[in-house]
Subunit: 461 residues, 3 copies
Amino acid sequence: MLSTDRFFDPDVSRKSAAIELYALIKDLPIISPHGHVDPGLFSDPGSRFGNPIELLVQPDHYLLRMLYSQGVPLEDLMQKEDPRRVWQVFAGHFHLYRGTPSGLWFTHTLEMHFGITEKLNAASAERIYDQIEAALAAPEFTPRNLFERMNIELLATTDPVVGALEHHQAIRASGWSGRVIPTFRADDMINMLAPNWLNNVQLLSAASGIDVGDYRSYLAALEQRRAFFKSLGATATDTSIYLPETACLSPLEAETIFQRALKGQASPDDAARFCAHMLVEMARMSVEDGLVMQLHAGVYRNHNPEVFKRFGPDMGFDIPVQAEYTLNLKPLLDRFGDHTNFTLILFTLDETLYARELAPLAGAYPSLRLGPPWWFYDSWNGMSRYFDQVMETAGLYNTVGFNDDTRAFLAIPARHDVWRRAAANWLAGLLVRRLIDRQDAEQMAVELAVGLAKRAYRLEP
Amino acid sequence: MLSTDRFFDPDVSRKSAAIELYALIKDLPIISPHGHVDPGLFSDPGSRFGNPIELLVQPDHYLLRMLYSQGVPLEDLMQKEDPRRVWQVFAGHFHLYRGTPSGLWFTHTLEMHFGITEKLNAASAERIYDQIEAALAAPEFTPRNLFERMNIELLATTDPVVGALEHHQAIRASGWSGRVIPTFRADDMINMLAPNWLNNVQLLSAASGIDVGDYRSYLAALEQRRAFFKSLGATATDTSIYLPETACLSPLEAETIFQRALKGQASPDDAARFCAHMLVEMARMSVEDGLVMQLHAGVYRNHNPEVFKRFGPDMGFDIPVQAEYTLNLKPLLDRFGDHTNFTLILFTLDETLYARELAPLAGAYPSLRLGPPWWFYDSWNGMSRYFDQVMETAGLYNTVGFNDDTRAFLAIPARHDVWRRAAANWLAGLLVRRLIDRQDAEQMAVELAVGLAKRAYRLEP
Amino acid sequence: MLSTDRFFDPDVSRKSAAIELYALIKDLPIISPHGHVDPGLFSDPGSRFGNPIELLVQPDHYLLRMLYSQGVPLEDLMQKEDPRRVWQVFAGHFHLYRGTPSGLWFTHTLEMHFGITEKLNAASAERIYDQIEAALAAPEFTPRNLFERMNIELLATTDPVVGALEHHQAIRASGWSGRVIPTFRADDMINMLAPNWLNNVQLLSAASGIDVGDYRSYLAALEQRRAFFKSLGATATDTSIYLPETACLSPLEAETIFQRALKGQASPDDAARFCAHMLVEMARMSVEDGLVMQLHAGVYRNHNPEVFKRFGPDMGFDIPVQAEYTLNLKPLLDRFGDHTNFTLILFTLDETLYARELAPLAGAYPSLRLGPPWWFYDSWNGMSRYFDQVMETAGLYNTVGFNDDTRAFLAIPARHDVWRRAAANWLAGLLVRRLIDRQDAEQMAVELAVGLAKRAYRLEP
């Protein structure tokens, strides 16, 4: 059974301060401004979850990679025929998650949604499967009901530029009160090396109603799509790139590269320069339309070609690489860094950037904000390092609260709970060392739980 | 009101050990071997401070950048007409500094020098301004009196190579007992890409009385200036460079580049090679004249061109970049690394160098010492990371105590106090874990507060 | 006198949990799967240690470098004439090791093996020297007796590819029960820039009985040597390289470079490409013969040319450099990363790789395991950072327990003791924060002490 004071520092004075601060924020509504939940879960009031494996294991690359790293064949985990057999394999290896965020989220999720307090292992596997299966069959166990029970005030999804956003339209049309909004994700449109880029451009023409035959119409089509996303509630864009290089090309050079790309003749260098340029163009569009810009950089996608070939992306083989922001962002910041109506939220998988580059940048440029610890660092220690290395220089108010960034809808409360506990524990550390007073601590706690996210993502009406 | 046991770890046993160790060192005199206080404050016994804004806010780029990062226009902060209006803006945003070193130093400074214990915010702003203004008007509130009241034993300033050091001369001539010494800062003389480098060379000719027409006379003129600085008490040089590359050019190549530069024809590569070479020459001069060499590297100056254009340097837009010492310093160390009469103190804004490069280097070469946590890392967490990552490998005795590195004269005690508390807290952690005994801890505490700095900077008579 | 609860976190609840967990593992046998002890110590039952200086100081580059860094001439330390004089110098500077792992290991070693509880300094130096000398003269103070008294279950040495392993043969032939096994170390054979590489190849021919005249016979000879090492108990290879680049050359290109090298005409680029290729070949051989592959990267050897010239290697001047694994290992992992019968253990001196690259890689590829904190990081803080930065993402079971990696036979228990205390302290932190339960903690503690090392290095029969 989950201890109510789990995670907190064991020192008596700090722990008691943390418990008090946590009590102030634990029941505040959840703001989830960046994530990957399928909006289709909510478009149909009657939609249901799949079986326990489809729901809890197979979509979770954190879980899969760990099993694979210990020699469990992915075929045994991804098969559809016998979910109970997959569950047995998973449960028999659950000790692998000891002390990991995956293990802690999973345990939290089992207890919170299914009332399971027994430890998961080979012996308890069948019993626990039965419990989950029974809960899933209950009439009230629908995505919309859970959305409300989980006290989610806002959920942002991530959506392709050319998507029709039909689920978002359906959600709005249904009159349901849940607030689910799209996020504009243009990676595959600005990266000319993306598979099927030419096809993506055709889809962009179709989606926007603008015939994309040159660079100018390409920009116009992107702007049209941004406006469409905004009309369905979007407040932000997101871009994930390998390296965060930015550059300002002349319109002529941009057009020349674009024309080569349309003929399938863009070189890797063309593609890199164009992508760097498009980050500045995306910033320019954000200055104009007010959509918050998010930039996720520094990850080598699909590092394992064999696994990619057999199972596709998102199987746990996205591996971080070293990154750099001070020099790379300069062209973009030279143009838009001082705009107070522009917000650019930066994320990193290279923690050496926290204190060296990101905190000094975010602590100086009015347009910059620093996103929360991302991906592998969405963990107790990752959060502790973030608070330790970022806050003294960036200042709390140049950060944006928490992103759960998850596909796993049921795990959202577990993730926000870790963040809120980490925030309370950090503030308790400042408080008992007399670096802030109680009023400061309480206000900062509420900011970390909801306030910073709402303001940074412009979610207030 | 400042708590007497602020900062210390809350664990009862560690805190009580920290309090005891801190008590041993808190009242020791302040040694400030590296900083940026204006020596003109002390040359005239009757000199006075300006108004509260001129004294406390406008010269402090830590404070300015944070306000600017949150959208406060720099024009509103830098105006001279209405200091009370600036103060009101500042106070209304003082929550931005919660948990930051800037906030903690400021609060400490207000209480220590002005007796202000009220929290600064929009409501208290006017009252507090009045209190500061009244204190500044008091006859005893002079720089010299404060120097003595603050128990400063030595204050080193930073001075341009070509300066006449007239304030230092005046201080000496006045018979005042305060010890204020210059530091030889040659950045703009060895970096051929510095604005007005040719003019700097002319000034060097004038200052040294040596007509600098070639590389040989350039070296002679620098040596003359070093001797002049030494005659006024200097014990150290300082150089701030973008990347710490070092190289040994042949005299012919050095001369060739120098001649190109005199004609305004030096390429960026010329400049980089010459600068790398001059670091080795500066080391050679230190071997000869005994001045301690300091090297600060890894910062991109004036990252924001718009702010630089409108407000000049030192406005909070100096942003760290990744750095490297193991390979870059090798040419210099190959020549002078084993000299026991040479001291080279290294600083970094890239903390990844602490454990990987700087501690192993300082823990092996007799000439090397590791400077304290610099700039953004002159903070409680920055110091904790420094102790954690440096001391096991470098050993305490290859470090140099503390530098306050500040322009803000009144904040010097606050900065040394944080260091002394951090040192006591670190040693308390070793002591309660039985890794050192009490005798060790007490001797190490005194070293960290004053002993290491005095020896490293050769401040003992 | 060593405190029984030294090192542990002072918080009462955490410390008491740590003491309980440590009690479970402190007396477990020592598994030392990677180190540099001379196997000759054990081949002759009557072998004895040298004098205290030869035994404790002169072979320990951790100790030497620190003295040298503070200006003690190496000549004074390395002389053979007057060991008592060396001891006096060493003892007079023993305060330099305050708070360092070297100091803690040394103190532990003195107390454990010689019953010395007095503090070492100039005043106690002679008395302590006498005590050590007397103990060394005692009949029972032999390497074999100590091996047993220290409860070493297995000790792996590091041995050159072309060695006859005569000591290992003698140990086996002697019928002694101690398990001492060789490790296959091929650095100087795959690095064509190694001094005397051509001579090494001739030695390889002689040792293998295969005339190495081309790339094919070179591979065959290496395979022969691996088989020979295996026949004497080896379960692993080790390679130390400057940068962990890997590459797959065509057989033709490999042969071409090899032929150039045989003529003494290989370029630095040839050598780098060949070495990168040979890492993949070594992986291929491991897949075939089952020897575990170890890779130590990122250190600039013999950084100080003057010290190298006068005293040779291993004098404390091996300095880390920045490293990269995500991109560099890809060619090797593309070929063998998914093999479940292949184990590749990675080590780093660049801690920024822990969370960014190594933990994500080891947490995904079935072949990869992450080695313990290495060299400068074999310390209390180094271990804390390792647990903090690695375990959440890699998971405990993708790590391999501890390596003492030492030449200092007598210090082996001290080093394992620090690791076991660090492990207990880390687990206690998880336990009191309710992130794992007691059963988890106890099983994880035993894994960290012995289980992980036995499995990763395939030491079970």
